[in-house]
Symmetry: C2
Subunit: 358 residues, 2 copies
């Protein structure tokens, strides 16, 4: 990826379903404002795409991302809860196909409340392994001795995936340490190895080994925490949490927990990061209940566009986006999912554009 | 189980490790106060037992529970995080050996805060499947093509286990509906069937089928929720949650989330319920950091003793315990884990005994 404006990266835009069609156009305006002329390609995926074409993730979408794009911005998809023959979640597929092994989900909220009603604030990041665990989707259905159904799923934890996700998390922890006056940061390794001694044991030991192989940097303190008590801690003492590294499903759950601290899911961005590709993605879903009403919160998608640019080497543009969003939020311009918010998707987006141009 | 005082049930007491040795003696005093002469048997299990005997759950403990007891009270165990050859968590074993398939974890706190700092209160119960999911502990370690470790675990979800846990949850939901002026309750089925369409799909469909087989009782509204957004909801709108039924690991995580709403893990009781046996168990762990200091919160264990008695048919005694605990807490007599608490384990226990005798 380049930082020269003469060779701007090409970004694929995949709105998906529901409010994806509202928040991705919002993020597009922001991208076009901070990097005029940036090449953007519209791409299909999602449940509606599945209903139309029989494929939730058309091969052409993957092909264009691979051949023409350096990054992408994904909206949200409406995954059916019932099993639908032939359907498979396109976001889970994309993460695997493009080897986007790290799902980085920062939550910063000076006004976060703990479960005792104290405003303690939080500034944390969940680094979620993004390719394995129960997401390998190896499931089978059998019949037991009494003729009843019994289903099995495989959970996979590999040394390789555990190592590279911890390497990502440790790099982040070192960057955070370096940017602070204290010069330190905390890396929490989440697992459930009191029950899953082999799989989560491997995750935990690999994480420890990565830390040791990096020379046990004194700026970073490493600790472990069981996933159940990690959720407890996120709500009792979110200010004690810094960088969290976790296997896929725990990371999924922990990032929703962290999103609750942000005030709304509609505020939380993420980046799916691989060796040669990055995809921004709001943490929220397709929200069919509010889709088409013009009130979807564009902030998570806009912030995801910022994370995307930061990962592509456009740190200044990313920072400008963050500051503009911050300014708009401070002025109380927010959609109804945010306590007190009354603005539309468009109002918020236009306010961010205006702040960027001011 | 009998309600005649002439044939009091025999209860096994299993302190386990750490603060289990403080909170179980506290609960013993309460049992002896409300049911004088109740036969109690002291039993071994835990990591210290493992170190001494090579078995975390001695066969004699299971034998005595099976042959002589109608119920038990379990403290907590210190499960090693590292894999220790031959060690297996005794609580997980006990749940399986005694077929204690339902883990019922109520959290009631009028003063619970949501993540926006609003005091909204909560009165909910997590009904956790207690015998399968990833707790079947079928794990294996292999070597991949590059000579690196790769581990697998099996997650099992059966129609039978999903049916009986939903039956338990539905009964509870019906009881709660009947006890309310509104005459209604809400049953939330938690799953992740957008990813695990076979295993969690089976859980969800079985839950729906149980509801239909019961004639879709109009007093109970049934709904589903993805596990990640369920955690989010617990912290955004805990007052909207009533009865939650979930597979084992999700239930483990959700009950710690709910415990955060209670103010402290030290306040949350549970009952592990099977067809012919019930075991009370505080939700907290062995807390090695505070063990032996006399400050462990006995409330979770005392409330678990209350749940145990309720399940054995001693509803009045159970209610007396609940009210006595409530009174002591209202008077601000609490251990330091509760915001503002300064009392010792002994102070709190004695205050509950006094309230029972008043
Ligand atoms: C939509 C779903 C498959 C997805 C996941 O579980 O990863 C979502 O919850 C997320 O966090 O991105
Ligand atoms: C100690 C551990 C095995 C146990 C569990 O995971 O079930 C605990 O967290 C609980 O909730 O009772």
């Amino acid at each position: 990826s380049s930082t020269s404006t003469s060779s701007l990266p090409t970004i694929g835009l995949i709105p998906g379903d529901g409010i994806g069609h509202e928040v991705i156009p919002a993020a597009r305006r922001i991208l076009e404002t901070v990097l005029p002329g940036i090449p953007l390609v519209d791409l299909d995926a999602g449940f509606a795409t599945f209903e139309r074409t029989g494929k939730a993730l058309p091969p052409s979408t993957v092909q264009v991302l691979r051949d023409q794009c350096q990054g992408a911005l994904f909206g949200a998809v409406s995954s059916p809860i019932h099993k639908v023959a032939g359907y498979s979640s396109p976001i889970v597929q994309l993460r695997k196909e493009l080897d986007l092994y790290a799902n980085v989900r920062p939550v910063v909220n000076k006004k976060a409340f703990n479960a005792s009603g104290e405003q303690v604030g939080c500034d944390l990041v969940i680094v979620r392994e993004n390719t394995e665990c129960l997401y390998v989707k190896q499931e089978r259905l059998e019949t037991d001795a009494n003729g009843e159904s019994i289903a099995f799923a495989t959970r996979q934890i590999s040394q390789r995936a555990s190592r590279r996700i911890t390497e990502t998390a440790l790099r982040l922890a070192q960057q955070r340490a370096a940017s602070r006056s204290s010069g330190t940061s905390l890396l929490t390794v989440v697992h459930k190895s009191n029950v899953l001694s082999v799989t989560d044991g491997l995750f935990r030991e690999t994480a420890r080994a990565v830390f040791a192989a990096a020379g046990s940097p004194s700026a970073v303190k490493i600790e472990d925490q069981l996933v159940d008590s990690m959720v407890y801690r996120l709500f009792r003492a979110p200010d004690s949490v810094d960088v969290v590294v976790a296997p896929n499903l725990y990371g999924d759950i922990l990032s929703d927990a962290a999103a609750a601290l942000a005030g709304s899911l509609g505020l939380v961005p993420s980046a799916n990061v691989g060796p040669s590709f990055v995809m921004g993605e709001p943490v929220h879903g397709s929200a069919p209940d509010i889709a088409g009403k013009g009130v979807a919160n564009p902030v998570a998608a806009i912030r995801s566009a910022g994370m995307l640019l930061a990962h592509l080497g456009y740190a200044d543009e990313a920072q400008r986006i963050d500051r503009a969003v911050e300014e708009v939020m401070t002025r109380g311009i927010a959609t109804p999912d945010v306590p007190g918010g009354r603005a539309s998707t468009n109002d918020v987006t236009s306010a961010v554009v205006a702040a960027l141009q001011a």
